[in-house]
Structure formats: structure tokens, C-alpha cells
Symmetry: C2
Subunit: 287 residues, 2 copies
């Protein structure tokens, strides 16, 4: 018997992966959670049937949601990850010696438990690292309790359906702005340029309306995500992702990274013509 | 009845597309040729069951196989496209006013015929443009007949199985070197960094052995190709893809391009850490 798992990126296009075995099937109060062992991509974490991360390509997503902002901020001491219960963003964040506190705020305890059990490479830093704190809590609520506290906030969310819907809206970005220190930087995953360009335009508008004066999108390839191409958005006040790039701090970390390099940092902010055009209708994303 | 077409990028991973109808099924002396009408990607051209191009994302591949080399060469007057029977590379090439002759050398006449019939947007320039010449001939043979003639040669081939196998080897690259003028530039599609990294290392070695002293890989996302991420290699003698970038010539063309921009030109040559590392085992790809 051959077992295949197909994620439909749209009702008419999908990625199909040959499965060795199903390792876990569960349902939390928020979503369904499955772990598959696939032939090409190793273990795959599914939330509500969507690929969140895989053993083989997780490094690209996690390096790209963390390092650009951490190398742009002058001194990222206090970092908050909202979502990201698998632990991958925290693992990359604590590679920076400047970070004295990395707090994970994940709404669903079962995601953290499943990652601890099936993705030790992702979740390793969630236990036993004195700089790391795990909060099982609604990210929006948690933000309200901490004003002017964070140097970097990373929104490592699922797609804007289900529990993550609120994490793409102006009201949430306003709470992030309030929870950041004055030089603080927000970074959020912002879906596929090929499939969700309208969402990116909406996010840009919402971020600007929430008080972020400098909003820049960047991209990287992620083979198991829709279109194989993903984007993130970085937002702050009066900063520039290239001029404020503290490349010198990368030296000690470079050997441990598999996707991100100083050149990739600069290249990632250069957007395809179609994406640039869509985003410039509102405002300039020129780097 | 729902009809889906799945291309297996490896025996264990595939892209699956919902099909409205099958428009054409044929078999030439070289390969099987099919045209599908898909819901998300419009018309899809399959050669031996592999997606060659689709209405929706063809622009990325065709802009990226042509414009980087054409803007790096000082005066690309004579351009040869080997393969590329769909006409997409020729369509982009003739956008450059410097090009006085763009010759297509395609081994399989049925690819050209099918493109003329089903992909008018791709093949439009193959007829009636006095600067364009279509040769139905084996590219390797054709090269032997023209020594020191071309400013730019583009190898727009299928994967290195079947009729295109020879187009990835040293002997072929040596024939290209011989057919180029002294400042000539060769560009070739070089498969997916995620799935074919060893091929890229081999191609680099073969290009250097064939007498190309400056060999640079570059990348772009192509959602319907394996891994959603593609690469090309540019080779010449004593040139540099960024220092010799004639950005000023882009002005008149920019509005007609949907992926390529001057920033994308520079960004495309910045390779992911894993790719850089694999290629640097041999020699430096640093830009």
C-alpha cells in the first residue's frame, strides 16, 4: 500500500508527499494536529491539515523569520515569539548572544508537546535554557500585559484562518507597536507572494495604520509552502533593513546557518516586479 | 469527474494540478507532448510528462533565462537559443533593441508547432519577426557549424534525461565556447537547488574545464518546478555579472517585465548558504 498526503494550496493545486507512516493524530481545543513521516521531507507537522514545518526545509523558514530582524535591531535583548510552538524560531533566536530573554507565547499547549516529542531538533531550546520562557497563552492577551517591553516581536503564526485570524489585523499590530520599545522591530510571516498578494497589501496598510512608519517585505524559497516561495514583513519606526544591518555580528553565527548569509539578507528585500508594484500602490518598499 | 495531473518531482514528492481538459496529446520522434488546461495555472505544456511551462508562471523562467545575460553583455547582437521551442526565450530576447538576430535551434519541430497552436503568448515572435530565425536541428550539430559567431547562447533545455542529456556536459560546453565570440556569454538552465545540487556542482566543473573562467549561478522562484525554486548558470571569460551589469539599458524595458528588475538582477546571484558551500568546494561563486 502506498500512502500519500496532499496539501491543497488552493482548491486546484497541491503538494503531494509519500508517507512512510503516520506518527501522531490528535485534536486540541484549537486545531487538529498530525505528524507524518515522509520519504523526502522527513517528519512533517500538520495543523488543520496544513504543512507547518518539515525536517528537511524548516531551516529556511526559521532562519528567515528570526535573523533579519535580529541583525537589524541594534541590541535585541528581549525577544517575544507569538505562535511558533514548534520551537524553531526560539532555537534560532537564542543563537544571538545579545538576546537575554526569549519568550514563546503559544496559544496551544499541544503544539509544544507534540514538537517536544516528535521534533527534538526544533524544540530543543524550549527546555533547560535559562534565557527561554514558554508561556501557554493567547498572544493578543499576553501583549496587553506588557507595554514597551520588547526589542523584537516575531509573529510565527499559522495561516489567517482559525486561531491565527486576528494576527493579521490592524488592532493586533497596534498592540504589538505598544508592546515594543521605541526602537523595537516587529516581524511577521506574510504568506506566499504567488497566492496571497492581496493579503500582503492589506498587511502593509494595517501596519502603517498601526503606527509603523517603516514597513519592508522580504522573501525566501520554502519548497513545502504554497508556491514554494514565502514572504515576511518587517516593521518599525525610522529604521532601514539594509542601512541598519549589523553584518559584523554575523561572524560567529554564520557557520551554523544553512540558508541565511549577509548577501541573502540584502537580496531577500529585493522584491519581484509584480510584488513591488502591488505594494507600491500604497507606499514605497524600495530598499 | 475531477481530473488531476500530478508531476512527480522525485518518486516521493509531486505537484498536483486540477485539470479542466486535455487539449492535446501527441508523440514526436523525441518525446511525448501534452497540453493541459488547468484551473490555477492555465495551459500547461508537458514534455515526457514533465511541466515545461505554464501560462501563469512562464514569465519568471523566461525573463530569468534571458535578461541577466543580455544586460551583462556589452552589445548582444547575435543571440542563439538552443531548445526553447515554445518561443518564450525568443520573445524576451527580442525586447532588447541591441539584438539584431535571434536564432532558435530546436531539435523537435512538434514542440514549435504545439506552442504556435496552444501558446500564442509564448510563440508570437517565432513568426513574422525579421530578426528571428527558427532552425529545426540538433543544437550540438548546429553549434559545430558556427565558430565565433554568437554574443549570447542560451541553453533552454529540458531536464538532463532524454534528448537533453548531452546539454549538461563538458563536450557540449566546449562547443558553446567555440561558437561564442571572445566576449560571449553562455547561460543555461541548471535545475533546482533543492533537488539537483550535485548536478550544479558537476555543471560548474564542466564549464570551467570547457574554458569558461567566470561561472556564476543565479536563482529565482518558479512555483510549478521542483521545489518551487530554480537556477541558471552564466559563464564567460573575464566578465562579472554585477560589475558588467548595464542597468541603464533596462529603462525602456522595465514596464514590460513582471519578475525581473535591476534589484532582482543583483539579488539573484546571492546564493543560499547551502548552495554557496556546495559550489565553493570547487571554486568561488562570490559576487
Amino acid at each position: 500500500m502506498e500512502l500519500w498526503y496532499t496539501e491543497h494550496h488552493t482548491p486546484n493545486t497541491g503538494l503531494t508527499l509519500k508517507v512512510r507512516q503516520t506518527l501522531y493524530v490528535g485534536k486540541s481545543g484549537y486545531q487538529s494536529i498530525e505528524v507524518l513521516d515522509t520519504v523526502d521531507y522527513g517528519r512533517v507537522l500538520l495543523l488543520d491539515g496544513l504543512v507547518m514545518t518539515t525536517d528537511r526545509d524548516e531551516y529556511i523558514y526559521h532562519e528567515m523569520i528570526t535573523h533579519p530582524a535580529l541583525f537589524v535591531h541594534q541590541k535585541p535583548e528581549n525577544v517575544l515569539v507569538i505562535g511558533g510552538g514548534d520551537g524553531g524560531a526560539i532555537r534560532e533566536t537564542v543563537k544571538h548572544p545579545e538576546v537575554s530573554k526569549a519568550v514563546l507565547c503559544e496559544i496551544d499547549p499541544m503544539v509544544v508537546d507534540v514538537s517536544r516529542r516528535f521534533f527534538p531538533g526544533l524544540s530543543a531550546e524550549l527546555e533547560g535554557n535559562p534565557r527561554v520562557e514558554v508561556n501557554i497563552q493567547d498572544g493578543i492577551r499576553f501583549l496587553e500585559s506588557c507595554s514597551g517591553r520588547w526589542d523584537v516581536i516575531m509573529v510565527d503564526s499559522t495561516d489567517p484562518v482559525g486561531p491565527a485570524t486576528g494576527l493579521f489585523e490592524e488592532d493586533f499590530f497596534r498592540k504589538c507597536a505598544n508592546a515594543l520599545r521605541p526602537e523595537g522591530i516587529l516581524v511577521a510571516q506574510s504568506e506566499s507572494p504567488f497566492y496571497h498578494l492581496e493579503l500582503q497589501v492589506k498587511m502593509k496598510r494595517a501596519l502603517c495604520a498601526a503606527g509603523f512608519s517603516s514597513v519592508y517585505f522580504y522573501t525566501a524559497p520554502v519548497p513545502t509552502y504554497p508556491g514554494g516561495f514565502w514572504s515576511w514583513v518587517m516593521a518599525g519606526r525610522d529604521y532601514h533593513p539594509l542601512k541598519d544591518f549589523h553584518e559584523d555580528r554575523l561572524e560567529g553565527l554564520a557557520s551554523g546557518l544553512r540558508y541565511y548569509t549577509p548577501d541573502i539578507h540584502r537580496a531577500a528585500f529585493c522584491l519581484p516586479a509584480f510584488m513591488k508594484k502591488a505594494l507600491e500602490r500604497d507606499e514605497d518598499n524600495q530598499v
